[in-house]
């Protein structure tokens, strides 16, 4: 069919995509040309590569393996709070990493709740630093995502099949082999690939719980080469490896995963006639209870630990909080300025390459872009002065894939339903944006802005590379307080960060939903 005329032009979206492409590819190009390839990979670099792959594989395997019984329980049981629990499975996405880590330390750390019990029993306390700590934190963040992905597959099994199976007298075991396993077999590789790709570029977790020659990820090694040795050649070389590994994993993840849904529909429960036995019920209850405990205890811990110190927070924390709010605001504005025109152009079904550009954030690492931007800025200006703008831009690019997933389907609907009417009324260009598109997309804009603000608020990545003692965001300040063993202040600041991140999300999301209800 002939290319349909649209009320909006494709150019602004193409310009936005061009900007993203220039930043990401420009940073890559600089990193590649700056890489000190002659030296080759030292034993420490190889160890970092090995550790990165190992922890990502373990994290992915554990997250998905644990997600299966949880998703099964959620799909076949109805209980009070089930809908709420499924909604909360989306929360770790917004949770600042450093907050979760402090919460986990309070539960699983050397002086944490579990260790206290163990010591009472005459056993040694838990040792959380190192590989198992990194994996534990990654499972904390990715178990909910894995549950959502697998639950999606479960719910895709038509209810009629369960009815038919029940009529044929199938037990739980038969249903598993007949219906559930075939559906899962298609979902599991995608879930594994996504979690693996996410864990490959993990920085804040490795920074706080890893470290040392035995537990350093590539991303952390880039930071160390940069920050401690100021060895730009080595940082760039590691960056090249990181791009290769993460890009490959990202491609595999995108290819195996058909659809990462943000949307609702997951809280539907199925009528099942099997699994009525006591053992099955107890197993499901155990899976759900353990998950709730695992996900909520660290949050409860950070609230309890942070409350006492909240009114005696040092001034540096408040200043950092102000800086973070500013960065989050800038990030959100940049994201909207990029994502909205791109989404409109993609929705108009023109310029297929834009979609690929939008996904680049998934396959790149913030520290690699950061290194590249540092190398670009360094000759002309003091990069440390530009720490905050660079952080805002990188955060926006990282949030872009998610924002596009939110905007594109909605924009497509608007163009499909109102495109012709708008054209026949000469409602085009900017007027179409103002009178129609922005108002129709209001809920999506609120949601995406909330996501970006929360992500940016909690981000501890590029800023750690660039910041000097005077300039810190709140997550970085929390990390510095931890490093100075001022745990009470760190926990209180983490609680503040948690409230700000969730508060920003809530405000934006609510702002998008209020007003027009139609």
């Amino acid at each position: 069919m002939a290319e349909r005329t649209q009320p909006i032009r494709a150019l602004p979206g193409a310009i936005a995509a061009g900007f993203v492409l220039a930043v990401v590819l420009g940073a890559f190009a600089v990193v590649v040309s700056g890489a000190d390839a002659e030296r080759g990979l030292g034993p420490a670099d190889l160890a970092a590569l090995r550790f990165t792959l190992l922890q990502a594989a373990l994290s992915a395997g554990l997250s998905v393996a644990l997600a299966i019984p949880v998703a099964r329980a959620l799909s076949r049981r109805r209980f009070r709070g089930r809908t709420l629990l499924i909604a909360f499975l989306g929360a770790p996405f917004l949770l600042p990493v450093i907050v979760a880590i402090l919460g986990m330390l309070a539960v699983f750390g050397r002086n944490g709740w579990i260790s206290l019990v163990l010591v009472q029993l005459g056993l040694p306390p838990i040792q959380i630093y190192g590989l198992h700590g990194v994996v534990l934190a990654h499972v904390f963040f990715n178990l909910p995502l894995a549950v959502r992905l697998i639950l999606q597959a479960w719910q895709a099994i038509p209810a009629e099949r369960f009815r038919l199976a029940a009529q044929l007298g199938c037990g739980s075991r038969d249903i598993w082999f007949l219906l559930e396993w075939p559906a899962l077999r298609r979902a599991i590789p995608g879930a594994l690939a996504v979690v693996f790709a996410i864990c490959l570029t993990s920085f804040a977790v490795a920074l706080t719980l890893g470290g040392g020659p035995k537990a350093t990820t590539l991303e952390l090694a880039i930071y160390q080469a940069f920050r401690f040795d100021f060895d730009l050649g080595r940082a760039a070389l590691l960056g090249c490896i990181q791009v290769g590994v993460a890009g490959l994993a990202g491609l595999v993840a995108m290819a195996t995963l058909s659809d990462v849904g943000f949307g609702g529909g997951l809280d539907r429960s199925m009528d099942r006639w099997d699994g009525a036995g006591g053992l099955a019920k107890a197993g499901d209850a155990l899976a759900v209870c353990l998950t709730v405990a695992f996900l909520f205890l660290p949050l409860v811990a950070i609230v309890l630990a942070g409350l006492p110190g909240l009114d005696t927070l040092p001034a540096t924390v408040w200043r950092a909080a102000g800086v973070s709010l500013l960065v989050a605001f800038a990030s959100t504005c940049i994201l909207l300025a990029l994502a909205l025109p791109m989404a409109a152009t993609i929705a108009g079904a023109r310029r297929g390459w834009l979609e690929t550009v939008g996904l680049m954030g998934l396959a790149t690492s913030p520290l690699v872009i950061g290194t590249g931007l540092f190398l670009v800025i360094n000759p002309v200006a003091d990069p440390f002065l530009l720490a905050l703008p660079v952080t805002a831009v990188v955060n926006a690019i990282m949030a872009l894939p998610f924002a596009l997933r939110i905007f594109v389907p909605a924009a497509r609907d608007v163009l499909q339903v109102y495109g012709r009417l708008a054209l026949s009324l000469e409602l085009t260009g900017r007027t179409f944006w103002r009178v129609v598109l922005l108002r129709r997309l209001r809920p999506q804009i609120g949601f995406a802005a909330g996501l970006t603000a929360a992500l940016s608020m909690g981000d501890l990545g590029v800023i750690a590379m660039f910041a000097d003692p005077e300039r810190a965001t709140l997550p970085l300040q929390v990390y510095r307080l931890m490093g100075a063993y001022r745990m009470e202040s760190a926990q209180a600041a983490a609680l503040l960060l948690l409230m700000l991140a969730f508060g920003l999300f809530w405000l934006c999301d609510r702002g998008g939903r209020s007003g027009d209800s139609v």
């Binding site: 026949s424 000469e426 409602l427 007027t431 009178v435 129709r440």
Partner: protein, 232 residues
Amino acid sequence: MAIRFENVRLQAGAFTLTADLEIASGARVAVMGPSGAGKSTLLAGLCGFLPLAVGRIVIAGQDITNAAPGARPVATLFQDGNLFPHLTAAQNVGLGLRPDLRLSGEEACAVQTALDRVGLAGLGDRKPAQLSGGQQSRVALARVLLQRRAVLALDEPFAALGPALKAEMLDLVGEVAQETKATVLMITHDPADARRLADETVLVAEGRANPPAPTGTLLDDPPAALQEYLGA
């Protein structure tokens, strides 16, 4: 204003529709034919949503073949989605005067008058969701009044309304067309609609839009393609 389709060929995927016909100025013409025969394709070509593969369209002596949809002297009522749900009835009508909705006092008065004219006095502040189906159609017709285009194209906009309400709307279309002196082109699958509004009918069948014929004669003695469709 007279509409001329000169050797027009429209191409939508593998589907082709040809049209070579003239519609007299001020005429009210029904467009009938089997489903999928190309009625909507013909209208899409007229409104500028589907570029012509061959030929040209002339309205009132002016070649509009390459004009943008909004620049053509055509006001359109679609099957659905004629109103923006986030705008009030008055704003939806106001779009007919100024797409950017920056209305002068005079223009705002004209909007009120148009709403009064279609029987919606006092309802200008309502959103479409707060109006009935018939009232929504009236809002769209009020906008057509203000657009003052030479041609009014209707793509079955009243298909979802009950028979009595639909008859009422068709009469209102007739009145609006008379006031704006518009030539009307209306797709319908209901012979009663055609008889009620249209003196002439264009039969679209077998990949061809035929020249208009008197509606009564056509329906009383339908050619084979139409007969099969009507089931008479």
